[in-house]
Subunit: 199 residues, 2 copies
């Protein structure tokens, strides 16, 4: 009976597991995210979470899906619907910032093989994809939105991961933000000059 003065039924163990998982993720990284630890933190027996999640992967997928939703909010908060390269750069900075502030969560969202089973997860990533496309469409109505949004997303996603893995200096938020802005601007401003410089 892990719960001393509590009731036998938890009330909302599903949500409690998710909360515990997020806490463990931030405290100990993804290595600390075990079903047993989650159960302990929720004050419940080791196997209770199985009533709400089929297995560990299901819980992890739920955490990832929640991360996607938070990322979407975070980006929207940075700029609801940018229509200029600068606005888009602000969103890009927010994306990378999100990754660096929640490294373990971001890795869970992207670094693990994505199981196509979790509808929640698939829907959440589709939403992000849609959002990026919409932003690009708004900022560059004349361009091929498909190609450009892929390019922008990949660029920003790559920046996030390279910073996360220590391949790029991420010692201060400012240096990161500057680099992201510079890279995004490079995507929109340098090429003509480059073609010339080469010849």
């Amino acid at each position: 009976m892990p719960q001393a003065g509590g009731t036998y039924h938890h009330g909302d163990l599903r949500a409690a597991c998710l909360r515990a998982a997020r806490e463990l993720l931030e405290e100990d990284g993804s290595a600390g995210l075990s079903l047993r630890a989650v159960a302990r933190r929720a004050g419940v027996s080791a196997t209770a979470p199985y009533r709400h999640y089929a297995d560990r992967d299901a819980l992890v997928s739920a955490v990832a899906a929640q991360g996607y939703r938070e990322l979407a909010e975070h980006l929207a908060a940075a700029h609801p619907s940018p229509t200029t390269p600068d606005g888009l750069a602000a969103v890009a900075v927010a994306y990378v910032r999100f990754a660096l502030d929640r490294p373990a969560l971001f890795r869970v969202m992207f670094a693990e093989p994505c199981d196509p089973n979790s509808e929640e997860r698939v829907a959440a990533t589709a939403a992000i994809s849609e959002y990026v496309r919409g932003v690009v469409r708004g900022a560059f109505p004349g361009a091929d939105a498909e190609v450009l949004s892929t390019t922008v997303w990949a660029l920003v996603h790559g920046l996030a991961f390279l910073h996360l893995d220590g391949k790029l200096d991420a010692s201060t938020p400012d240096v990161v933000a500057d680099r992201v802005r510079t890279a995004v601007q490079a995507l929109f401003t340098t090429p003509a000059a480059l073609s010339q410089a080469k010849g």
Copy 2:
């Protein structure tokens, strides 16, 4: 005595462990990469690998470092030192191809928190970074190599991950290669048109 007709001493267990780890990685993904499984495959007791690797992370780091070296060779094989956007695009395609052909290895190389302890690993990633910078310098002598190489690497790295995670269609090598080429070209050709289209 796991080794029936063999000798007590293995001979080169260090290398055997690495080989076994690579095989397990390709067969069962990173989940199957356990020290015990490596030891079994090497025909050795469960604790023997500890004579050559401090812990599991050390072995994983060694695998990652080997992956970095192979990636460098793979890129060089695609094009020794490109000097045109097309040549650079070919290298980019090779980068993404490498990731998609060895998904588990690529994740080990980039998706796990990189421990700065492993000198081997740090050196190998620095070599990749240098290579990219060199390629960019060769292809665009007039540009800011630092900024542009970061941008290019991030773009290509992001493309690799988004394909790997199923965020972009990777059903055939051709469709992937086309997308990568298009994205890289977008980095060098579209912006002028974009600035106009927007106004």
